[in-house]
């Protein structure tokens, strides 16, 4: 893996890390498997792209993207809580609807963002090497958002959210309306995913309706990878772990890309297979470690 590929993986890991935190909120905190993210990631990208190409400040466009993501998430939660549609199906419905909505928003499947302002511009203007700007800014975004989530989960509302996922009977008996908590939580999760999508689009130079495909796969893989490798005891540790899990997942892809194709029997089409194998290796790391320490004990 070259230095640039490493930096690239770091950048992608951090920017998708914001999405992974969103997936963590629904999948782990609320125990609500949410597939809306495949639609809300391009939704954030679409809203931000349209706003920027109409002259809005790229930073302000992130707020709009977050708001759109929140609405999308709360629709999934409303379908689930009020209409009693199973959470998986509710999220699938929102996801497929968003495909059409995103094309409406962009008035087409793709908006080019090459050559328009982005959140990377202020640092670019200072003369920092281009490839370092994105990981620096996205690192800052990811850290601030992680800190924000950790803080939030320690507030009364956050604690209620944790309890809603753990033991809905108990929290209902305490007089908390779990429906409101779920709507808020799934909304917040998708707001994060949409912000992640907006940042991804500004970085890759285009917003595309198909950019959300596989988001939930990457999100779940990152959450589980992070928890397995870095531990999940406590909210602080879990939040940091899933962010690092996202970076680790992208590092696996970067490594797979760097495996010299052609000289071995590998072809470019083996990429996903190699990535999967690398993730398996990473997941085994804690087990190998405990095995070694187990052997050395006696």
């Amino acid at each position: 893996m070259t230095w640039y590929a490493f930096i690239g993986a770091l950048e992608q890991g951090l920017v998708y890390g914001i999405m992974v935190l969103g997936v963590y909120l629904t999948f782990r905190v609320l125990d609500f498997p949410d597939l809306t993210v495949d639609g809300s990631l391009p939704l954030g990208a679409a809203v931000s792209a349209v706003a920027i190409t109409h002259g809005m400040n790229p930073f302000v466009s992130l707020l709009l993207a977050a708001a759109a993501g929140f609405v999308a998430g709360s629709i999934t939660a409303l379908l689930n809580t009020k209409l009693k549609i199973l959470h998986l199906l509710a999220s699938i419905l929102t996801m497929i609807a968003l495909y059409s909505i995103n094309i409406r928003i962009m008035d087409g499947p793709n908006i080019s963002l090459l050559g328009v302002p982005s959140v990377l511009d202020p640092l670019m203007a200072l003369g920092v090497a281009g490839y370092l700007v994105a990981p620096a800014i996205y690192g800052l975004f990811a850290l601030c958002i992680t800190a924000g989530i950790i803080w939030f989960l320690h507030t009364e509302l956050g604690q209620a959210m944790l309890a809603t996922g753990d033991n809905p009977q108990m929290i209902t008996s305490l007089g908390v309306n779990t429906h409101h908590i779920i709507i808020m939580g799934v909304g917040l999760s998708n707001a994060l995913v949409a912000v992640s999508g907006a940042l991804v689009a500004q970085n890759q130079g285009a917003s595309d309706v198909n950019m959300g495909i596989g988001t939930i796969v990457a999100g779940l893989a990152s959450v589980i990878l992070g928890e397995t490798v870095f531990g999940k005891s406590g909210v602080v540790r879990a939040c940091v772990a899933v962010l690092l899990g996202s970076v680790l997942y992208r590092l696996a892809i970067a490594l797979a890309l760097g495996v010299k194709m052609g000289t071995f029997a590998f072809t470019p089409s083996d990429l996903n297979l190699i990535t999967a194998l690398l993730v398996v290796v990473a997941l085994m790391a804690p087990k190998i470690k405990s095995k070694f320490s187990g052997n050395s004990a006696p």
Partner: protein
């Protein structure tokens, strides 16, 4: 735990052999997805340069239809420091353009795109005649009028033509108004049917049965990858099916006057050679494919219930029986 992770990382890095450094030309390729047409582009490109006895080392990457991976490939290519980048299809071309912009050491590296329909609206070039920077390439914009004329020649009495595409593919979406305006000139109505994934194709073609006299499928990645289901429905309902790429004729569509994507890659290879020999991409106009080939599948025509005019059979570059 950190130590364990580090050890695994070192182990994995050690697995990756260092790239060989030789005095040859290095071209890094970023392809969006595996797909017969896009694969043919790459093959045509490599065959042209191979035929010119150029000593080229290729780093071929495939994003497997994942935009995030396409971005990471951009970074991977930054590290490979190639002499030229070839981007196949729009999303990868945009990702590579963005990666170029961010890498100070590659401000002069030429980026050639190929199999991109509308490079201007994709933001890749400012102007087709004067690209203006280090990005240029070959566009696969369809000569819409010539396609429609071909279908009309097969079916002179056609009143309505179905147009099947994925509304999420920018390359297809921009063709819709072009087809509409050309069709109006010859009194044909265009009936759209859209899919969002390959598995929708069967149902979408079914929805056209009885409403149209023929179905036309453009160079749409999603639809073409599920072409067999369209062929099946068309054969069952005796609905003539035409395509915009010749590879599909072999698979069972009646005819296409189009692109041979292999030729498309071949033409891109010729452009690559000129640029590697010193031509400035900033003043190398974006090319389109002029040579169109007529391919006809006789058995498909029979199954879909039409007779092929003799004139067309005489003109055909290739006939499948």
């Amino acid at each position: 735990m950190k130590k364990g992770m580090l050890m695994i990382m070192i182990f994995l890095v050690a697995l990756v052999p260092a790239a060989v450094g030789a005095k040859t030309v290095t071209i890094s390729v970023s392809q969006f997805v595996e797909h017969p047409a896009l694969d043919a582009v790459l093959k045509g490109f490599q065959d042209y340069l191979g035929g010119q006895k150029m000593d080229v080392t290729y780093n071929v990457h495939n994003a497997q239809a994942n935009m995030a991976t396409a971005n990471q490939i951009g970074h991977q290519i930054m590290g490979e420091k190639p002499d030229m980048i070839l981007a196949i299809a729009t999303p990868t071309a945009q990702a590579c353009a963005q990666a170029l912009k961010k890498s100070p050491h590659m401000q002069k590296t030429p980026l050639l795109f190929t199999a991109v329909t509308d490079p201007v609206s994709a933001g890749l070039v400012k102007n087709l005649q004067q690209p203006g920077a280090n990005i240029t390439g070959v566009s696969d914009m369809l000569p819409v009028g010539r396609h429609l004329a071909m279908v009309k020649e097969f079916l002179p009495g056609m009143k309505r033509m179905g147009f099947l595409y994925n509304a999420g593919e920018v390359n297809s979406k921009i063709l819709v108004p072009l087809f509409r305006s050309e069709a109006r000139k010859v009194n044909v109505e265009i009936v759209e049917a859209t899919v969002s994934k390959s598995s929708d194709v069967f149902q979408a073609v079914k929805s056209l049965v009885g409403k149209v006299d023929a179905v036309f499928i453009p160079t749409d990645n999603t639809v073409v990858s599920a072409l067999e289901s369209a062929i099946k429905v068309c054969e069952q309902s005796k609905l003539p099916l035409f395509n915009a790429d010749v590879d599909s004729v072999k698979r069972g569509s009646i005819a296409a006057m189009g692109f041979d994507y292999y030729q498309h890659g071949f033409q891109t290879g010729a452009m690559a050679q000129r640029i590697l020999q010193g031509a400035d991409p900033a003043v190398t106009p974006v090319e389109t494919q002029e040579m169109l080939q007529l391919h006809i599948n006789k058995r498909a025509a029979q199954k879909m219930g039409i007779t092929i005019p003799e004139a067309l059979l005489k003109r055909a570059d290739k006939i499948y029986n």
